[in-house]
Symmetry: C2
Subunit: 162 residues, 2 copies
């Protein structure tokens, strides 16, 4: 059934960032529409950001195109060029390899939501613009390190890694 | 600049279908957001359907995932299972190779719009559910034939091919 019953796809909260960085996902709720409906070539998620929520740590992708359209509420798109207001219907596109790190932040007192699309690729490298971190993944194996490939340290992620 | 200035991307009208079948695009206006902003791995279009407009002839893709979300107005999604009302926020997903031909039709008296995403692949084959036609393309070369590969005939597309 191609029409999606959105009520049947649960939102998941949180993030997969290591250690204390995982808190960046505390106010983010992701509803994976594509995965739940058999799409394998790109991911499609509805993301709801509660007040103070972040779409992600500010980052860019080396191999994957990314696109977003605002659905409700108001966010700011923060990138190397500053802050850009995003209202329902506003769109943004980030070609693979464009080193302009970006994220969406909800600075309002109400929830906001957007739909985001990203290519699925067998491997990927992402860089985080505001901290010394990169991610490499292959299949389901995610590995976060410093940008030179060395391990993240306790001052970056805490020492309990929870 | 990742945030997209939608006012700078013109809508294009019509379709690339052969001969008289091209009229299927008469009430369809397409704004190519992805192409205009450097995305190459998937296409992202806003499509506006005027009353009686069709998203396409009813079809399915063999190699490309496809996804749509309604933005404004009301359409019906027509597929092998019948008609499904699509209102703003409603979504649909069509995995590559799923032979459930589909299109969106605006049966109302007001414009309707949706955002559609489709993978870019080097080659593609599409089949049209209600007529004896397939399309194969490789790069920019589109070729419409009957499903057995033989040429379309005048009773299908007219004899002036305009």
């Amino acid at each position: 059934m191609p029409k999606i019953d959105l009520s049947k796809i649960p939102f998941r909260n949180g993030s997969g960032y290591p250690g204390k960085l995982a808190r960046a996902g505390d106010d983010r709720y992701v509803q994976p529409l594509g995965d739940a409906n058999g799409l394998t070539q790109f991911g499609v998620n509805i993301v709801r950001l509660e007040p103070n929520g972040l779409s992600s740590l500010r980052h860019y992708h080396m191999e994957q195109d990314e696109f977003a359209i605002m659905l409700s509420g108001k966010c700011v798109l923060i990138d190397d060029d500053g802050e850009h207001e995003m209202l329902p219907g506003d769109c943004a596109a980030w070609p693979a390899g464009d080193a302009n790190g970006h994220h969406l932040v909800n600075k309002t007192d109400a929830p906001a939501s957007f739909l985001v699309v990203g290519t699925r690729t067998p491997t990927e490298t992402g860089y985080y613009s505001d901290i010394d971190m990169m991610v490499k993944f292959e299949g389901d194996d995610f590995r976060f390190t410093r940008k030179d490939g060395s391990p993240l340290t306790a001052d970056q992620i805490g020492d309990d890694n929870d």
